[in-house]
């Protein structure tokens, strides 16, 4: 039982991180029907900027006196940077291709992903960038079950971000405009919604969430590297599809499911086949519900 609870905690932490990344995929997909392969790189860039910022604060000595302020600042800086990066990427690599076939944009995204991850490698080096692990070192022990402060911090921050995003999308005017743009770009232009700005905003929000996930990743695992975006990127993409791509609630549920399946598959059946379980669940769900768990009936679109 204790084993189960421990694995449950592990699963929620991992699933939360996947959910944050998956949101970016799903939002971008919802608005311009593009699988943004470079999204994983935003995640990695977020991790890097967070590491750089924290190292800088430590260097000037603020880190010891005001750790919480520094951490908050690092989150802000990194989310802003990634939003800035994502807007740039969108303008350069995707916007000119919006009228072309979707495969062209897909490949452009793939190229951008390779470019960004190698760009990070060249500017930041091939070695791991270290996060200060002194923050949140403590943990609660309930018999065999361990719950670290870091896990609590990650899960609660993830929950806050998800709730915030939900409020933004479903309660505000901007969120309404985003949903409208996703459904019909021509019509939203006819009611004075600038689709270009909304698309930029979507990219920015998605990348910002990925950046937050990147910092949490760095804090949790201790370091970041230029190639960390790839695997979580694919898992998060799977999570987005599992939940029904284009659906924000779906992405959250999908992320949690993928994280749980991975942890429980590894913990109870076999750790080397854990990715297989994640993908089998995905395939099984899609076989019976071809539009994902929360997906609406999308139009008959193919490559």
């Amino acid at each position: 039982m204790e084993y189960f609870i421990q694995q449950l905690i592990n699963g929620i932490t991992l699933g939360g991180m996947y959910a944050l990344i998956a949101l970016g995929y799903t939002m971008v997909y919802g608005v311009i029907q593009l699988i943004n392969f470079a999204h994983g790189e935003f995640f990695a860039a977020g991790g890097y900027v967070g590491a750089i910022a924290l190292a800088y604060f430590a260097g000037v000595g603020y880190m010891d006196s005001h750790p919480v302020i520094c951490l908050t600042a690092a989150f802000m800086i990194s989310m802003a940077y990634c939003a800035y990066l994502a807007i740039g990427v969108e303008k350069i690599a995707y916007k000119p291709l919006r009228k072309e076939s979707r495969l062209a944009a897909l490949l452009s995204a793939l190229g951008m992903s390779i470019f960004l991850s190698n760009g990070m490698m060249l500017t930041q080096g091939v070695y791991d960038k270290v996060y200060p692990s002194e923050l949140f070192q403590g943990r609660f022990d309930f018999g065999m079950v361990t719950l670290s402060y870091l896990q609590i911090m990650i899960v609660s921050l993830t929950a806050c971000l998800l709730i915030g995003l939900n409020l933004l999308v479903f309660r505000t005017k901007i969120g309404m405009a985003m949903r409208a743009t996703a459904q019909d770009k021509t019509m939203s232009a006819l009611v004075a919604i600038g689709s270009n700005r909304i698309i930029s905003l979507t990219f920015a929000i998605g990348a910002g969430l990925a950046a937050a996930a990147g910092i949490m990743y760095g804090l949790y695992y201790g370091s970041v590297r230029y190639d960390i975006g790839f695997v979580p990127g694919i898992k998060a993409f799977a999570a987005a599809v599992l939940g029904g791509i284009g659906n924000i609630t779906g992405a959250m549920i999908g992320g949690l499911i993928i994280g749980m399946v991975e942890i429980f598959g590894a913990g109870y059946i076999s750790s080397e086949y854990k990715d297989v379980f994640a993908f089998i669940i995905l395939i099984a769900v899609l076989y019976f519900k071809p539009n994902g768990i929360m997906g609406e009936n999308i139009d008959d679109t193919r490559v």
Binding site: Q7, L150, V231, E272, K274
Partner: protein
């Protein structure tokens, strides 16, 4: 427009092989193969830097008679067998006389076959898999140790020095890590250490919480971590400590990288690892340190081996006085000198012997802790 692009591309494609075919006579060409991109880029870069240093040192010491300079061609394998073979063929085309590389055993094996066909000596600084030299290739040499030697040394260390009765093994399913983990498992059985579990993770995994929870439940004396690359090992160590794993952590030579302590931080304290005996007090090591550290930073696992590999190769060429493969091989076999990482002396199958000892991480440094012959080092 279309036609123009096509014709330019076609011309480019036709020119490619010719461009690389130009060979001038007065330079000695040495190649290296290692992953400069991809997940193992850090280790690959260390290898490249090690070879560079060796060439610089050798040139300053007078170089090879009859040649104006030594040219160095580092090639990227990305740890992908196809690219490794392409790189090997590229080096052949460039007319290199010897190759240092590759890193991943799965790259070394197919590319060595290509090089062996043309009788180009290849010295690997990092591929520890048995099959690298056990295939009977004539021009395949190895500077580092062998997995089977390391495994038995590790098992002996755990039994004798740590008094282990139970062990939990994790590997990450690469040629290197799995071969080593299997070897450790066998050696432990022989010594009577009970195996409580042998789990695998996949390459590129970052989250190990599931198997660490399992290991915590099993609570073995030893948690043996066999991972390719220091980075995932550091992450696993950190996560293990956070989760409250009480077992002793023992790991292996791929982790011998100062960055390990930087990433794992407090968690790395007290971790044991096996690594070939490198005596940092020898003048050779000191000299290497003086040249390497200011330029590339802290010395890592494969830089020293790469340095020794390149030096051995150059020494053999100098002694042979020609670039004829058979002569170089004969001279390589004759070598017997103190290198940076180890005493260099090749055996008939191309191995240079293993000298694994155990290190312990103390105050963010690898400190020699135990050796098979004499027990604890004090």
């Amino acid at each position: 427009m279309k036609k123009r692009i096509l014709s330019i591309m076609a011309m480019g494609l036709i020119l490619v092989p010719f461009l690389f075919a130009t060979v001038s006579a007065k330079t000695l060409k040495i190649g290296s193969m290692s992953p400069l991109t991809g997940p193992y880029a850090s280790d690959g870069t260390d290898i490249k830097n090690g070879v560079w240093t060796a060439i610089k040192v050798f040139e300053e010491a007078g170089g090879v008679p009859g040649y104006d300079k030594i040219e160095f061609f580092p090639q990227d394998t990305a740890c992908d067998p196809r690219q490794a073979v392409a790189a090997a063929n590229k080096l052949l085309n460039l007319g290199v006389v010897g190759v240092v590389g590759a890193y991943c055993s799965s790259s070394t094996i197919p590319s060595s076959e290509v090089l062996d066909e043309e009788s180009i000596p290849m010295i690997t600084p990092a591929s520890t898999h048995q099959d690298v030299t056990d295939r009977g290739l004539e021009y395949m040499f190895r500077m580092c140790g062998r997995d089977d030697d390391q495994a038995s040394a590790a098992a002996k260390f755990m039994k004798e020095a740590l008094g282990a009765k139970t062990i939990f093994i994790v590997d990450d399913k690469t040629t290197y890590s799995q071969g080593l983990a299997d070897g450790v498992e066998k050696a432990c059985e022989k010594l009577g250490i009970k195996i409580l579990g042998h789990e695998h993770v996949n390459q590129g995994d970052k989250d190990f919480s599931a198997i660490l929870t399992m290991a915590k439940l099993k609570n073995a004396d030893i948690f043996y971590m066999s991972l390719q690359g220091y980075s995932s090992a550091a992450m696993m160590t950190l996560q293990a400590k956070r989760l409250g794993l009480k077992s002793q952590i023992v790991t292996q030579d791929a982790v011998f990288q100062p960055k390990y302590m930087e990433v794992a931080k407090y968690a790395s304290e007290g971790v044991y690892l096996t690594y070939g005996l490198t005596d940092p007090s020898t003048p050779e090591y000191k000299a290497f340190e003086e040249r390497y550290v200011p330029k590339y930073g802290a010395i890592a696992a494969y830089a020293t081996y790469a340095y020794d590999s390149a030096t051995a190769l150059l020494k053999a060429i100098k002694a042979a006085g020609s670039t004829e493969p058979a002569k170089i091989k004969a001279e390589l076999m004759k070598l017997d000198y103190q290198g940076v990482a180890k005493h260099v002396k090749f055996r008939a199958n191309g191995d240079s012997g293993s000298s694994y000892i155990a290190y312990k991480v103390v105050d963010d440094k690898f400190v020699p802790y135990w050796e098979p012959a004499n027990g604890l080092i004090k």
